[in-house]
Structures are given as structure tokens and as C-alpha cells.
Amino acid sequence: MSSTVFDYFTNIRNAFTSIFHGLAVTFSYLFRKPTTIQYPDRIDTPVQQMLPPLFRGILEVDVGLCIGCNLCEKTCPLGCLRTAVVRDPETNQRYITRFDVDISKCMVCGLCSENCPTGAVRHSTEFEASTANMVNLVIRYVKPGERIPVHKPVKGEESPGLPQNEPIARAHKEWDEPPPVDPDQVRGRVRWKNDGAPEEEQSS
């Protein structure tokens, strides 16, 4: 409650001027460059390629570079990764038979990729993986039955690693795609009856 009539009118004037100041700021944005990135379709380059190379997206694995040291699996505090290495008793050659990443659990902390000695495990800039079925969220980089010989790094030679800033092949299935029957599919569906998962859509 203002004490004098003068204060009363001063308050009204202050209120109006401050509103005017605010609106002037808002109005000035009419003439500035818009900040909106019109994902997904109205942009020149995909967002994945605009991201900095350090960006930690979905884990990608180049199994050809894996030396089978199992360090990533040990480092992960959650157990997102599951690897298996077997040794051929005759030739003493070690093979990677399994490399699964459960991205439904992954917290993209970067500890595994940091500890990987060859750069086989790294974060891609891919982030589109939303799916209707939880089972799509386990990415298999070695299909069951396949054996990939471990990488033997040459001394003194820098490990090539994966190309930076290139999105991996899409890590997800479309939500309504039928489950793959082809056993050659590397990134297959996990046949996992989840107690709370939505019911399978009727085939349309």
C-alpha cells in the first residue's frame, strides 16, 4: 500500500514500463536467428553427424579389434556387457563367441570405452533406439555360433579404432517389424517374455 498518491501513480508507471521492457526483449527475438533444430526431417545434416566426437551415445563394438581382455565387462558397474572367449585347444587360437550390450541398462558413463586398450568398444553418436519391445534393446555384436578370432595388435603400431563421428548402423528395429527369423541376423531379438511388456501387436 503506497503512502501517497504520487507513489500510487509511480507504481503504475513502473509496472507498465517494465512490461514494455520485457515485451521489447521478446519482440527483438523476432529478428534473430531461430535456435530450433528441426529434427528429424528439416535439417541438412543428421543430428548424429553434428554431435561432437566425444558424445557418448549407444555403445558400439568393433569385434574385429577386440583382444578378448574382458576389461570392459569387469569395469562396467552395472554388467551391461557380456563377453565370452573360448580357446581352441589344438591351435591355441582364442575366439570371441559372444559380445552383447544391454543398452536398456547402460548409463553411458564411458568407463568401458576408456579402459578398452584397442578402442574396440566405444560410444557412437547414435541415439535413436526407442522401441516398443524391450527385447530390441540388447544388441548382439557376435551372433550365436559365430567365432571371431581375437585381434592381435602389432607392437609399435597404433590401433586404428573405429572411425570417429560416424553413426553406426541403426541399433534398433522398427517397433512393428516381425521378429527376425533369419539366424544370420546379428542384432536379433531376444526371445524374452517380460512380465510387464506390452502385448505383442496383432499382425496387421
Partner: protein, 165 residues
């Protein structure tokens, strides 16, 4: 595909007619529990303008079509989440955003976190990431839209969450 000659083409058209407006005006409930809530806020912000898709936030579940579970849900909170879901009008959709909502994520070993929000309410789309980028949330919204277009008017979509327990 609309043909007068075939008897069962009408429902398809009706579905399209019903689903298209639904798809283009997804009103989501402003419900943020944890880290993903900040990304949800930023998705509504100017950079990744969610309003482009007709998706605006609502503060009350009675006006919302989509429940975005953004973040971890604890046992103490689980009851409230289910109550929010039950208050939403049909047809309603649920998007589990982030690892915690998907499967408990990094708190899966914890004593107080629900291991995945699909334990308490039915989930339509899972969005991995911790926390997902705004563009990833955008992509999930597009996935929800695709999901909506598959709906049949004659089939009652979801039931109460009571059935799950």
C-alpha cells in the same frame, strides 16, 4: 486404401480419421521424477521444440494422453505413478524414458527402486539412454505416433493397471 467394393475397408478409414488427430496432438503429462525430467524440460524448450508435433505439456493427468515416465520410480512413488496413470483418459500411452524407467538402469541393484516401470504400468515405447538426448525423445515421440496409427477403434487398447499386479 479405400474401396467401395470391399466391405471391410470402412474401419481402416475410420481408424485413420480417429488416429490422425490423436497423433498430432499428443498432450503429455508434466511428470518428471529425475534426471530425464531436465531433458524433458529442454525438449519442450526452444532448441528441440516439441510443440512442432502438437505435443504440449499438461499439469493434470485428466487432460493428458501420454505419460512420460522420466526417471527412476521408487517403491514409495510407485503407488502415485499408478494413480496418475489410472486418472488419465483413454486412449492413453506410456513412454518409459531413460534406463531407470526401462529396467531400473543403474539403480537395478538398489533396494528402493522399481526395476522398470513396466512392473507397475503398461509401457508402449521404451527409450534407452541415460539421459536420452532431446532428439532421442523426439524420436520416441515419433515412434509413439506410429504406434497410435496402428490402433483400431473397435479394440479397447489398455486396461487398468490393476491387471498387471
Amino acid at each position: 486404401m479405400y474401396h467401395w467394393g470391399e466391405g471391410f475397408a470402412m474401419p481402416t478409414k475410420l481408424d485413420w480419421l480417429l488416429n490422425t488427430p490423436r497423433k498430432n496432438s499428443i498432450w503429455y503429462l508434466l511428470f518428471a521424477t529425475a534426471c530425464c525430467g531436465i531433458e524433458l524440460m529442454q525438449t519442450g524448450g526452444p532448441r528441440t521444440d516439441l510443440d512442432r508435433f502438437g505435443a504440449v505439456f499438461r499439469a493434470t493427468p485428466r487432460q493428458a494422453d501420454l505419460l512420460l515416465v522420466a526417471g527412476s520410480v521408487t517403491y514409495k512413488m510407485a503407488d502415485r505413478v499408478r494413480r496418475l496413470y489410472d486418472q488419465m483418459p483413454e486412449p492413453k500411452y506410456v513412454l518409459a524414458m531413460g534406463s531407470c524407467a526401462n529396467s531400473g538402469g543403474l539403480f537395478a541393484r538398489s533396494y528402493s527402486v522399481v526395476k522398470g516401470v513396466d512392473k507397475i504400468i503398461p509401457v508402449d515405447v521404451y527409450l534407452p539412454g541415460c539421459a536420452p538426448r532431446p532428439e532421442a525423445l523426439n524420436h520416441a515421440l515419433l515412434t509413439i505416433q506410429k504406434r497410435m496409427m496402428k490402433d483400431k477403434w473397435s479394440v479397447r487398447r489398455t486396461t487398468s493397471s490393476e491387471k498387471l499386479l
